[in-house]
Symmetry: C2
Subunit: 115 residues, 2 copies
């Protein structure tokens, strides 16, 4: 295996680690919603209007396990739950921005011309 191939293998490994966390229809949208500050369950649901409570609950749990999202219970009446990004979640800012930039670029380059 030459050096170029080794670099390629290294990159492929790193991308797989990242993909395992951000894979799926809802994780990136949920993280984006939380970059705008701490939010409650219902607020996220309103932001991402077509997510079901089941999927939101499930994906929030997965993100919590991966230490991307932090869940805080408040002893108010009634009990409220708040979700926020951990430092690891906040470290995704650059990644999220590039996804957004490229999404806009893609829309301009390809999607427009199809319509």
């Amino acid at each position: 295996m030459n050096q170029k191939d080794q670099v390629c293998q290294y990159k492929l490994m790193a991308s797989r680690d990242a993909l395992e966390v951000i894979q799926g229809k809802w994780r990136i949208p949920i993280i984006i919603a939380l970059t705008h500050g701490t939010k409650r369950f219902g607020e996220i649901q309103r932001d991402i209007s077509d997510i079901s409570p089941k999927m939101l609950s499930q994906e929030l749990k997965a993100l919590e396990m991966n230490k991307i999202v932090k869940r805080t219970l408040h002893d108010t009446m009634p009990v409220t739950t708040e979700y926020s990004l951990t430092p690891l979640g906040e470290s995704m800012t650059n990644l999220l921005n590039e996804i957004l930039n490229w999404g806009l670029h893609f829309r301009e380059e390809v999607l427009k011309r199809d319509n």
Copy 2:
């Protein structure tokens, strides 16, 4: 809807466009393999050792339709096929780099401590 919400909705839309293209287990790895230059079918298959010819063929077709990848047939004997990134595919460089960076960061922060 206040201004903050509008920005959030705008971002969510852009991320969905991008996600539709990069969604799935194999697309990002295939694009990464092609950032190292034009490659043939078998070369990509060797780089990504656990992809089946079926999935590689299928995902390359999808990437071609989205104008990320270009397929070139060479009239040699036997016929050879070459795959390369289009300018739109090359415009993903920053996005790919951020995925790699974050993947490495994530491995350091979380995966290590689990072992």
